[in-house]
């Protein structure tokens, strides 16, 4: 898994959620732009976008009826979708740290983690 295998990044969020804004959507969006990746965000309070959000989370993410946000997904060049992050109910500080960790991980750095 290296950065050049990623085609795009998808984030499910809500405008009112401090785990989403400014904690997740902005830094992930900036990183995607920096790496030239497609960036898609789905607002769960937007009637059109929530359908895509629900499908993404039901098929690939941490699904529960009243699911947690934010959730971040990578779309790989081979078309597979990989769930990589869910917000931490323990507190915004943990979500902030997790986003920083994710953006510093081999996914976004270009080095391949051993698997």
């Amino acid at each position: 898994m290296v950065a050049d295998q990623i085609r795009g990044v998808h984030v499910v969020h809500a405008q009112w959620c401090p785990h989403c804004h400014p904690t997740t959507v902005e830094p992930v969006g900036e990183k995607a732009a920096e790496l030239g990746l497609e960036f898609h965000d789905y607002d769960i309070d937007n009637p059109d976008q929530v359908k895509k959000a629900d499908a993404l989370i039901r098929d690939h993410g941490d699904w529960s009826e009243d699911y947690l946000i934010p959730q971040v997904f990578l779309e790989m060049r081979d078309g597979t979708i990989r769930h990589v992050l869910t917000g931490y109910s323990e507190g915004v500080e943990l979500t902030r740290r997790a986003v920083a960790n994710l953006l510093n991980s081999p996914y976004f750095r270009g080095g391949a983690p051993a698997r």
């Binding site: 941490d62 947690l68 109910s89 507190g91 986003v99 994710l102 081999p106 698997r115």
Partner: protein, 145 residues
């Protein structure tokens, strides 16, 4: 798993007293409870891989006794991986899953100052319920040994 749990062991602001809720463990560490000095429970968390939603819901239902009905909607799930926990691991597989139940949240939210709420005994042995404003810090067994 042990390392991951220690990363997750943060304190959180208590929603009922604005004090700090720290985490205490039950069931051999597979359950965490966010509890403030007044012993109000803000959150119950299950850790594991895999996790059993029915079992966790029943656990929370047992904790709140008959004071409310716990539905699937009241439980939220999250996957934690090496990369987002900040663990430098050779393997990037899933480290653990968490399930959360949050007291007085969304569907179950109430502003009634006399509502009955869930507390966790200061001796760490059991949950008990009392009015949200109540000052009791011990379960009934510990109060009347």
């Amino acid at each position: 798993m042990e390392v991951a749990r220690s990363i997750l062991a943060t304190t959180a602001k208590c929603s009922h007293c604005s004090g700090q809720a720290a985490i205490e463990y039950l069931e051999g560490g597979s359950i965490g409870v966010h509890v403030c000095p007044g012993r109000y429970v803000s959150r119950i968390i299950a850790y594991g891989n895999p996790l059993d939603l029915d079992r966790f819901r029943e656990f929370v239902q047992g904790a709140v006794q008959g004071t409310q009905r716990i539905d699937d909607t009241d439980v939220r799930v999250a996957s934690r991986y090496a990369w987002d926990l900040g663990l430098d691991r050779a393997s990037n597989d899933l480290i653990l899953k968490e399930m959360y139940w949050t007291q007085n949240y969304r569907r179950a939210k109430s502003e009634d100052p006399d509502r009955v709420a869930l507390f966790f005994c200061a001796n760490g042995d059991s949950f008990f319920v009392q009015a949200v404003q109540g000052n009791e810090r011990l379960c009934s067994k510990c109060r009347n040994p």
